[in-house]
């Protein structure tokens, strides 16, 4: 019964170059993420970057609970699963013990900007030499779509049934801006993965950050990726990406917020 292809067929594949394929460091396991979820893309991008830089053997990833809790099923490297909110503390423990390894954390907005706020701020304040990936989908995806600190005004979630209201729930927390102004951050950027071009830019930011860490650069590299949650937002994947472009990016503007300092030893 197994259908293998539909549509255009090509007999000349051997005359063509394979110019894109799933990276080896990204396992064959079927991703558990919902259809169209940005997590999948970001999971892959960090593995692509690790592989291109040839650091699979020295990279340790940390993912806490959140939709990406199973990231270690897909990332073919050593990984630690952290308690909710504590990924950056766990990453600190690893990096301090093994300073020549490359360490990254992978955290959601509930994780990094709510329960883990203290760990986030202090990891940055200490200037730990790690990469922090911040997947901001403005919602608690894992637990079924509750309001998060980054949820925008008016958004209806399962715990803000009448929409987020500044008086009751407070303001969308711009943790990335806070991090950018702290001396412990080396590089702070806000990216997305809602289009192929955005994907390219995000990967570039990851490559830059990892290289910086490989070269012994000091301080946290921080990449926020403003992403979607089709299930939590109750939208189709396509709608969710449009919503990102039409609403969310107006509030969370994309682009570099703090430029990577040039390393004296080694220009990246």
């Amino acid at each position: 019964m197994s259908i293998s292809q539909e549509g255009i067929h090509c007999n000349y594949l051997n005359e063509m170059d394979l110019v894109w394929d799933r990276p080896d460091t990204f396992t064959d396991t079927t991703l558990h993420y919902c259809p169209g979820c940005g997590h999948s893309v970001i999971n892959r991008l960090i593995m692509e970057s690790v592989q291109e830089l040839n650091i699979e053997e020295k990279t340790i990833g940390v993912a806490p609970v959140g939709c990406s809790v199973f990231a270690y099923h897909y990332m073919f490297i050593d990984m630690q699963e952290a308690a909710h909110g504590r990924a950056s503390a766990v990453a600190t423990g690893i990096k301090r013990i093994l300073p020549d390894r490359i360490v990254f954390s992978y955290q959601g907005d509930g994780d990094l900007a709510a329960i883990g706020t203290a760990e986030t701020i202090h990891t940055v304040n200490r200037g730990e030499n790690i990469l922090m990936l911040f997947i901001n989908n403005g919602i608690y995806g894992m637990t079924g779509g509750q309001m998060s600190p980054t949820t925008l005004k008016g958004s209806i979630t399962s715990t803000s049934p009448d929409g987020r209201d500044y008086n009751q729930h407070g303001y969308p927390l711009d943790i990335t801006k806070i991090i950018a102004q702290m001396p412990g951050s080396a590089y702070v950027t806000r990216q997305s993965v809602d289009s192929a071009n955005a994907v390219r830019k995000t990967k570039k930011a990851m490559m830059k950050s990892l290289k910086y860490q490989m070269d012994g650069g000091r301080g946290v590299c921080f990449i926020e990726i403003v992403s979607n949650c089709p299930s939590g937002w109750k939208m189709t994947p396509t709608e969710s990406n449009e919503w990102l472009r039409n609403e969310i990016f107006n509030h969370y503007e994309l682009g570099d917020i703090k430029q990577l300092p040039k390393l004296k030893t080694n220009e990246i």
Binding site: N11, L13, W20, R200
Partner: protein
């Protein structure tokens, strides 16, 4: 039998039918099948022979299940190819 300069192969059993690749294809060459795969998802496929091998669909595909081929011979690249 393709005449265009590029081609893609989708692992359709793993497709979740999110349609992001379809939106992202600059050639508008892709479409969603009315059939479903073993997981019950309608899957994407290359519907028109106009692929340029630009990799957009592969880059956006959450499931990382699109292989992209391009005709013009380039030097052999190690996998995976940098998208920088």
């Amino acid at each position: 039998m393709t005449k265009s300069s590029g081609h893609i192969i989708i692992n359709i059993q793993k497709c979740k039918g999110c349609e992001l690749c379809i939106i992202e294809c600059p050639q508008n060459g892709m479409a969603l099948s009315s059939n479903i795969n073993q997981n019950g998802y309608h899957y994407a496929y290359l519907a028109e022979d106009i692929c340029t091998g630009c990799t957009n669909c592969a880059l956006i595909c959450p499931e990382a299940i699109i292989k992209v081929y391009r005709k013009k011979k380039s030097k052999i690249l190690k996998q995976p190819v940098s998208t920088l």
